[in-house]
Amino acid sequence: MSANTTNGSQTLSAQGLYYREYNEQIRAAIEAGADKLFLTEVMGHRYIGAGIRAPGTTIDIEGIPGQDMGAFMDGPSLIVHGNGQDGIGNTMNDGRIEVHGRAGDVVGYGMRGGRVLVRGDVGYRVGIHMKGYQEKQPVIVVGGTAGDFFGEYMAGGCLVLLNCTGDGESASVGRYCATGMHGGVMYIRGHVEDYQLGQEVARQNLEKSDIDFLRPILDDFAATFDVDNPLKNPSEFIKIAPVSARPYGQLYVY
């Protein structure tokens, strides 16, 4: 370890730096013992927080982080004050990502643990191939609306879509929602037509166990973004879960 072994905060500007160089500086600061990093003037720099194993480290980001922020991340917390781009939390294993604006496409692809909270809308293919195993149960909460393929091929974990940014009438989610889903659970606030859902899932009303499960997650969301808990009226939500853990187990068996 370098001389700076005490816990502490450090500010790193991305101005004029290529992403590779910038990420090397971020890693070096964490190696040196910084547990609170303030990243400034970030403008499209890719892979911020990617692959970093440092639970307890907080990385605060001003600007627009580039593609694959938090990919394969294992422990740190990322706070994005503005918007995020595509590929946030790709195959993330543990940690936490807060995006105070909107996020792009493919958030939490193949995510296997940790939590992603987005205050605004998200793009297409959010939460696809998400998976869960025993205590590793990833969670994504979206405050706004989502595009097509929300939770496509989902195998585990939890996706929550709150639909708080729209007019309340428009669709909260696009087409092919939960297509091929065979594990995990999804909660959506607002109206969803049957044609928007995959054929492998069924919609249900929330039971007490669902509400007990959701409440702390949405308390976290509300505290993070300083809004009211959106769970005031659980009847506004539907639960979407697979009807079979192996929907195609019999496909090639005559």
């Binding site: 792009g104 297409y124 595009g147």
Partner: protein
């Protein structure tokens, strides 16, 4: 003197261009003119989306003093190709001015083809529509004259493109000396065809220009279709066909941009069953009449023309596209950061719905 063939203006033989590229563009709807430095910064931010094998720009409003002339930007492998084109032009159009396209020596663009521009008009006495007439002249050059390639051929607009990173090409083509109300730019990552000067984006025909990220899987069908209307696909890349489709649908068939969008990225049949009767009939008619003009495969493209900018995604959003607005300016880009780097404090920023065109036009119509 340059070696014949040295700069690959001659066309390679591969059929397809699968690319994973970056694109960006903006239009000042109030007609405000800005030089090429902002667009170069915007595309330069996404340097990693390309690999230095292709970059380019389209600019509208740059030849205001010659707004009635067709401005031909032509690249040549050698003097012989130039002689051939100039002879052809002399026979078929009035050439009002011929000049080298200004370029600047830069450390990174060391070799380049010859670039010339010609301000031309259709001769008196031609009864055919002047755009159709020019289209035939351009197709003749691209098909018949080896080592020559028309980069752009519209009025009051021009394309600047080649092999290199786009921000370096902006320097090379001295884009800081041009003022335009509409700019688009492209950063190429060719994977299936060689990077060659003619194969860079934008592709342009008459007033149309297109930059494209993705792959047109329906290229064969689309190509046969446009060729049946007299277009000739000479560039061996899929993007070219989209430029010709737009010319056919909008200029020759008179479709609105919205309907052209429905033709290229139509609603799915099961979506049509949920539409009201009038919309369902229109969508069904367009899908039926223009089945061969439908684009399949992953794409995001930006389409420029005199007076407007259109962004369109494939129907299932297989390529990125972000739209933002600030005041009278509309931005469209692969990445939000490429917009923020030239315009902070945006009024709005969003992902457009896949398959629905975003259309931004000048407040006063055509400039």
């Amino acid at each position: 003197m340059t070696q014949p063939g040295a700069y690959m203006v001659r066309r390679p033989h591969e059929e397809k261009d699968i690319s994973s590229c970056g694109l960006t563009g903006f239009i000042n709807r109030d007609g405000t003119l800005v030089d090429g430095q902002a667009i170069a910064r915007s595309i330069g931010l996404m340097r990693d989306r390309g690999n230095g094998l292709g970059g380019g720009f389209a600019a509208y409003g740059i030849y205001r003093h010659r707004a009635d002339d067709f401005a031909l930007h032509v690249m040549y492998d050698d003097e012989a190709a130039k002689d051939g084109v100039e002879e052809l032009l002399k026979e078929r159009v009035n050439v009002l001015d011929t000049e080298p396209l200004p370029t600047r020596k830069t450390p990174v663009i060391s070799k380049s083809p010859l670039f010339f521009r010609y301000f031309t008009r259709v001769p008196d006495g031609v009864e055919e529509d002047e755009q159709d007439y020019m289209l035939e002249v351009i197709m003749s050059i691209n098909v018949e004259i080896d080592g020559a390639f028309v980069m752009s051929s519209g009025k009051n607009m021009g394309v600047f493109k080649g092999v290199g990173f786009p921000e370096d090409l902006a320097d090379f083509f001295r884009l800081d000396e041009y003022d335009a109300y509409l700019w688009t730019a492209h950063n190429r990552f060719p994977t299936n065809t060689p990077g060659w000067w003619g194969g860079a984006h934008p592709f342009a025909l008459l007033d149309w220009s297109i930059v494209h990220n993705g792959e047109i899987s329906s290229y064969g069908t689309n190509r046969r279709y446009v060729e049946s209307f007299g277009y000739r696909c000479t560039l061996r890349t899929d993007t070219e066909v989209v430029a010709y489709l737009f010319d056919l649908l909008v200029r020759r068939h008179g479709l609105s941009f919205e309907r052209a969008g429905v033709v290229m990225a139509p609603p799915f049949w099961d979506d049509i069953t949920r539409m009201d009767e009038v919309s369902a009939k229109e969508a069904t008619d367009l899908r039926t009449i223009y089945a061969s003009a439908q684009l399949n495969g992953p794409f995001a493209f930006l389409f420029g023309f005199n007076g407007g900018l259109i962004g369109l995604n494939d129907r299932i959003k297989l390529r990125p596209l972000v739209v933002a607005e600030k005041g009278e300016t509309v931005y469209m880009s692969s990445e939000e950061a490429a917009i923020r780097v030239i315009s902070d404090d945006l009024d709005s920023c969003y992902s457009p719905v896949a398959g629905e065109p975003i259309i931004a036009t000048l407040n006063n119509g055509v400039a």
